[in-house]
């Protein structure tokens, strides 16, 4: 259905040689003649290079990678917006891309007119648009404003209308780039549902997103890009694990002096350094201390804070006896009920009422949205990010 053979795309580095006006070009030519060595240095970079893969009919493939890894360039090449510098691509069917929804929307035209305009731009025939018109309008929830120029639309309506048109494309191959990042929570759910529907309908889909839960939910296979190269191609769970794992090792806190001379913190770290913590997995931390004297009844209070610094939970516990020398302790927090999100730790240490140490903003970490066993609640969690409150499993049963 789709074959990509060692394609590469080279861009010219813009800042130095943007020829927007004739004068720039002439000046550039002159200068190059005057000082050839200065400007012969590489002015190009490869946004994508040596990428090969093929996708069978009906496959739904996710594409992950950091910003600038070449994902968007890949989609631009596949959708023929720009030509590759080398290699070739073969495509067996009509391609539609949702690179940017609302392409060609004109503020002066009414919603109705823009549906036709936008549909045509995305490659639908007039008849196709007509037959799906009612469904598009219903999806976008703009029935009452169909004949209003869209410059009077709220931004939410604008986006809904745009996505609605795009969601009604029925090409053989669909390229999707981050469209789920639009609209309010309710609408996002609808979009994700629509995506899943497209995936199930046997269409070939290439899905680029930073929303890993959505990728995990919708795709079976994943391509991972790093610095313009295809670094991994395999089953979605494996690639996602590699993607998250490769995102830098877990942070670690080392060599911290406390407010007690004889109490030294050697390190605080995650027990499992490779695997990123899924939000429904237990959290395990390891603390190594080095003591100049024995300590009795030491109270440790571990706190977990959200990205705004608010304390979400505390896990206090007391250790009876700590001997002189080095000791390693570990703690396992099983039911933390934290939803996916960004967090950090705080640690307080005391002996009786005697303060020994307090530190916060330690080990900033992310609980990923992967790993939840119930695919239906995943999208819910993702869009509720930071608003979920505690995550407490429960289930409604029919009586």
């Amino acid at each position: 259905m789709l074959e990509v053979a060692s394609i590469g795309k080279r861009y010219r580095l813009g800042s130095r040689v943007r020829h927007d006006t004739l004068r720039d070009v002439l000046m550039h030519r002159l200068r190059r003649r005057a000082a050839p060595s200065l400007l012969d240095s590489p002015e190009h970079f490869w946004a994508l290079r040596g990428v090969s893969f093929s996708i069978a009919e009906g496959e739904v493939v996710g594409v992950v990678g950091r910003n600038g890894a070449g994902k968007s360039t890949l989609l631009k090449l596949l959708s023929r917006i720009t030509a590759p510098t080398e290699g070739r691509i073969r495509i067996g069917g009509r391609v539609a891309s949702l690179l940017e929804i609302g392409a060609g929307f004109h503020p002066e035209l009414s919603g109705r007119e823009n549906i036709f305009m936008n549909g045509a731009i995305l490659g639908m025939t007039r008849r196709e648009i007509q037959s799906r018109f009612d469904s598009i309008v219903a999806f976008a929830e703009v029935e009452r404003f169909l004949d209003t120029p869209i410059k009077r639309y709220s931004s939410g309506m604008h986006v809904r209308l745009a996505f609605a048109v795009a969601a009604h494309l029925e090409p053989e191959i669909l390229l999707v780039d981050e469209v789920l990042a639009v609209g309010d929570a309710e609408f996002q759910k609808k979009c994700l549902g629509r995506m899943a529907g497209v995936a199930r309908s046997g269409r070939t889909v290439l899905f680029v997103s930073h929303n890993l839960a959505a990728i995990q939910q919708v795709t079976t296979r994943c391509l991972m890009f790093e610095k313009g190269e295809l670094s991994r191609d395999g089953a979605t769970p494996d690639v996602l694990a590699a993607y998250l794992g490769g995102s830098g090792r877990r942070p670690i806190v080392e060599d911290v002096a406390t407010d007690h001379r004889e109490f030294h913190i050697q390190s605080l770290r995650f027990c499992d350094e490779d695997r990123p913590p899924g939000f429904d997995q237990p959290l395990e931390f390891e603390l190594s201390v080095s003591l100049g004297q024995p300590f009795r009844t030491v109270a440790f209070s571990l706190g977990i804070h959200n990205s705004l610094g608010a304390r979400l939970l505390s896990s206090p516990s007391v250790v009876d006896q700590l001997d002189e020398g080095k000791t390693t302790l570990s703690i396992r927090i099983c039911n933390h009920h934290l939803p996916p999100g960004d967090y950090s730790l705080s640690l307080g240490i005391a002996r009786g009422t005697e303060h020994i140490y307090y530190g916060d903003n330690l080990l900033p970490f992310t609980l990923s949205d992967l790993g939840v066993n119930e695919p239906l609640i995943q999208p819910y969690l993702v869009r509720m990010r930071d608003q979920t409150g505690a995550f407490v499993p429960g289930r409604w049963e029919k009586r």
Binding site: Y11, R12, H19, D20, T21, L22, R23, V25, K76, L77, L78, S79, R80, I81, T82, A83, P84, T85, E86, G87, R88, I89, R90, I91, G92, G93, R94, V95, S97, L99, E100, A103, G104, H106, E108, L109, E113, F116, M117, A120, I121, L122, G123, T125, R126, P149, E172
Partner: protein, 281 residues
């Protein structure tokens, strides 16, 4: 593994570094609806939120012809071969305004559609071609005024005009597409082109027999004058509508050849440059 045209559903498309160097007519045909939508949008948007709306399509040539009649017909006393000067001038003005507006809009078109160029694929040539269609609508509207003027002065075109006029307009249209697509492609790379357009249009107008008959050009300079393709188009229309004659064959053929060359050059340059539009625009 032929590079297939965009056959609706079946068929493989191959994308290579050199694909997109040529214009595929079949593909343009597949996308004809989009061309229509672009043109329709231009027309629909143009007069939205304007008081006089479509009347502007009449007012622009009307005001222009009044000014020209006063200055060139009256003050300068340019002859018009026995035809009332306003009619003479208006017949020249119609194809000229169409051509000038088309070129102007086409030149700006690629840059103003940059949002689309960087987001969606469609044959790029559609954009400048669509830009020449809205002025065609204006031309149709402005022509009604010509009918009124000719009736007023009691001028009746012959049956010959029935085929001579459409031929002439097709000629002007192809010329506008050629020049427009060339300038629109250049404008993507050099915005100077956009700055240059008003001057180019002005100079070009005075180099064309809009306000004067080409007969006032000295005999030995006429061939240079005929290098300007509009020197073929405008008198052709006057011959067809006002003088009931076939236009002179030699100079017309010469202008026509120049026009076709310009058309081919415009399309070819556009094709060569279109590959990197999305990267540059």
């Amino acid at each position: 593994m032929a590079e297939s045209t965009e056959a609706e559903h079946a068929g493989w498309i191959e994308i290579r570094p050199d694909s997109g160097l040529s214009i595929r007519l079949g593909e343009l045909w597949t996308y004809r609806e989009l061309l229509g939508f672009f043109a329709w949008r231009d027309v629909a948007v143009r007069y939205k939120q304007s008081l006089l709306g479509v009347l502007w399509a009449l007012l622009t040539p009307l005001i222009t012809v009044v000014i020209f009649t006063v200055i060139f017909g009256g003050v300068a006393g340019i002859g018009s071969h026995g035809i009332p000067y306003p009619v003479f001038c208006y017949v020249g003005l119609l194809p000229w305004l169409f051509f000038a507006q088309s070129v102007q809009r086409a030149t700006a078109s690629m840059v103003s559609e940059r949002n689309l160029l960087t987001k969606v694929y469609f044959p790029r040539l559609i954009v400048p071609i669509a830009a020449t269609l809205a002025p065609l609508v204006d031309l149709a509207i402005a022509s009604s005024l010509l009918a009124v003027m000719m009736a007023w002065y009691g001028l009746v075109p012959s049956a010959r005009a029935l085929y001579l006029v459409p031929l002439c307009l097709t000629w002007a249209w192809l010329l506008a597409i050629g020049v427009g697509s060339l300038l629109s492609a250049l404008n993507v790379y050099f915005r100077d082109v956009g700055q240059m357009i008003p001057f180019l249009i002005q100079v070009w107008m005075y180099a064309s027999p809009v306000v004067y008959p080409s007969t006032i050009i000295p005999e030995h300079l006429r061939w240079i004058h005929a290098l300007n393709p509009m020197v073929g188009v405008i008198p052709w229309l006057r011959y067809a509508l006002l003088w009931n004659q076939h236009p002179p064959a030699v100079s017309t053929a010469f202008s026509l050849a120049v026009s076709l060359a310009l058309f081919a050059l415009g399309i070819a340059c556009f094709a060569r440059m279109q590959r990197s539009f999305a990267d540059v625009v």
